[in-house]
Amino acid sequence: MQRYIIRRFPQAIVTLFLVSLIVFILGRLTGDPVALLLSETATQEDKLLLTKQLGLDKPLPEQYAIFLRNAIQGNLGRSVRGERAPALELVFERLPASIKLAGLSVLVSLLVGLPLGVITAVTKGSFVDAITRVIALLGQAAPVFWLGIAAIYLFSVKLGWLPTSGYGTPAQYVLPVFSMSCFMVAAFLRLTRAGMLESLDSEYIKLARIKGLPETKVVWKHALRNSLIPVLTYMGTIFGRLIAGAVVIETIFAWPGIGRLAFDAVLSRDYPVLQAVILVIATLFLVISLVVDVLYAYIDPRIRYS
């Protein structure tokens, strides 16, 4: 088991390096930062001075090395907007809001999707099954940003039940989390259902029933366990969609998270902040993948020995 983890670790590091390289190259492509930072009346002398100060006159590989060294020390430059706060600080400031949104959405989706998946598998072919699956399909087809707007229209404008935007009160969590959760509920439902249908047919479930175990235990304890692996796999892959969802949801609901931070940074060419966001997200992703893989190996012993 340890060997498996030790093998995965260097892979993640290499990937992180490559991501940082891409971020660095893209940064250099966005244009001359000196021109961005100085006003138009700056003289040629001033420009040369700043170029030297920022180390932009050094050869590119050396610039990359400096960039890496700074990055590891936690220095990812300063925002070019507003108070010129350190980029990494800005990201960490906004990170909790996004994590709360994403985390809560995943949790809610699991709590709704898994049981529904079990129920539809057990009642396969019934009316409930059909209706639930249609709703799930719709949930997967609706773009997250449209769901957000539709939810605002229905629940805020027409019914007046919930606030339209903002961050802080529990009521303000409802619509954003709802919009984010839809596609995940649908996916969890379908994955669980498929896995359950397979498990419920298998030999060991028949044995459990013959043994006289109560049906609820057979279904919810034994069959469900084996349906969880595809769910876990899926959870490892939705990170990208969660980020994309975060960007649009945060924009629609004025949620102070890193999605919106990234979006604002892109539009205002605030490259240091954008770099910081991308690197933090990539790191998070790799950590999550690692955790998912280890959990995998833990749940399914067959993987450990492959």
Partner: protein
């Protein structure tokens, strides 16, 4: 056929909608009652015909510039489908080729390609798209390029997985013994057997591309106006949600219906061709 009745019904509905969509996109100039970019401010914000204030002249109402929503919807179908088809063809061929090569040739090439695939997966797609749009400008062409950059990795991973399975088959060994070149084996023997899985993936990806493309347009870094695009329409209608709900809701429904149809078709194909795969 190994499909259940429910799947047969849903897949036929899906297929029917897709055919209607494709025909609409192809014959947009003939079907749309108005020019999508022509608007008269006198008629702005007219509601759909079934609401008070609406008329048969503009079946689905008009937007803030007085442009006919139905026409913009029809032309928008053209935009979305074109982007989807081209992006998927590009990324599909590129990704599959790399995937098959990685799977069949193994060794260093395999490792390098898979590392790059990992990087592609761990790079947040929407951020890459936004950066790309800002650095290289947002245009039809650039959107297709960046979406292809996001999609190819999944094809590579899947193609590689399938290739690894097929590689061990007898007919491949026979071809190798007979002295057939590596390239020919990959093209003539492995590719056709990997193709079915890839086609299923492509069908399911159309939905993803349409949503991604409209999300980018919604954020303002996608297809630039005034080209009619469903995402842009939703963005434009956002501030009018309370007063003119149809501006955002109608294109949104169009996206839902389109993506749903492709997903239904993809699901049916999955059931038909890969009965053991998870949805």
């Amino acid at each position: 056929m190994r499909l259940s009745l429910a799947t047969k019904i849903t897949s036929i509905i899906g297929l029917a909608i897709i055919i209607i969509l494709v025909l609409t996109a192809l014959f947009a100039p003939l079907l749309a009652p108005y020019e999508p970019t022509a608007g008269s401010l006198r008629d702005r914000l007219a509601p759909p015909f079934w609401q008070e204030g609406g008329s048969m002249a503009h079946l689905l109402g008009t937007d803030k510039l007085g442009r006919d929503i139905l026409s913009r919807l029809i032309y928008g179908a053209r935009t979305s489908l074109t982007v989807a088809v081209i992006a998927i063809l590009l990324s599909g061929s590129f990704g599959s080729t790399l995937g098959i090569a990685a799977g069949y040739l193994s060794g260093w090439g395999d490792t390098i390609i898979m590392r790059i695939v990992d990087v592609a997966f761990s790079f947040p797609a929407i951020l890459l798209a936004m950066v790309f749009a800002v650095v290289f400008g947002a245009s039809f062409f650039n959107i297709i390029i960046v979406i292809s950059l996001i999609l190819w990795a999944e094809y590579a991973r899947m193609a590689r997985g399938e290739t690894l399975k097929i590689k061990e088959m007898d007919y491949v060994a026979l071809a190798q013994v007979a002295g057939v070149s590596k390239a020919k084996i990959m093209f003539r023997h492995i590719l056709p057997n990997v193709a079915t899985t890839l086609i299923v993936l492509a069908t399911l990806q159309v939905g993803i591309v349409i949503i991604l493309e409209s999300a980018l347009s919604f954020l303002g870094v996608g297809i630039p106006p005034p080209t009619p695009d469903w995402g842009t329409m939703i963005a434009e209608g956002r501030s009018y949600v309370a007063t003119a709900w149809w501006l955002s809701m109608v294109p949104g429904m169009a996206i839902v219906v389109t993506v749903l149809s492709f997903n239904l078709l993809g699901d049916a194909l999955t059931e038909l061709l890969n009965p053991t795969r998870q949805p």
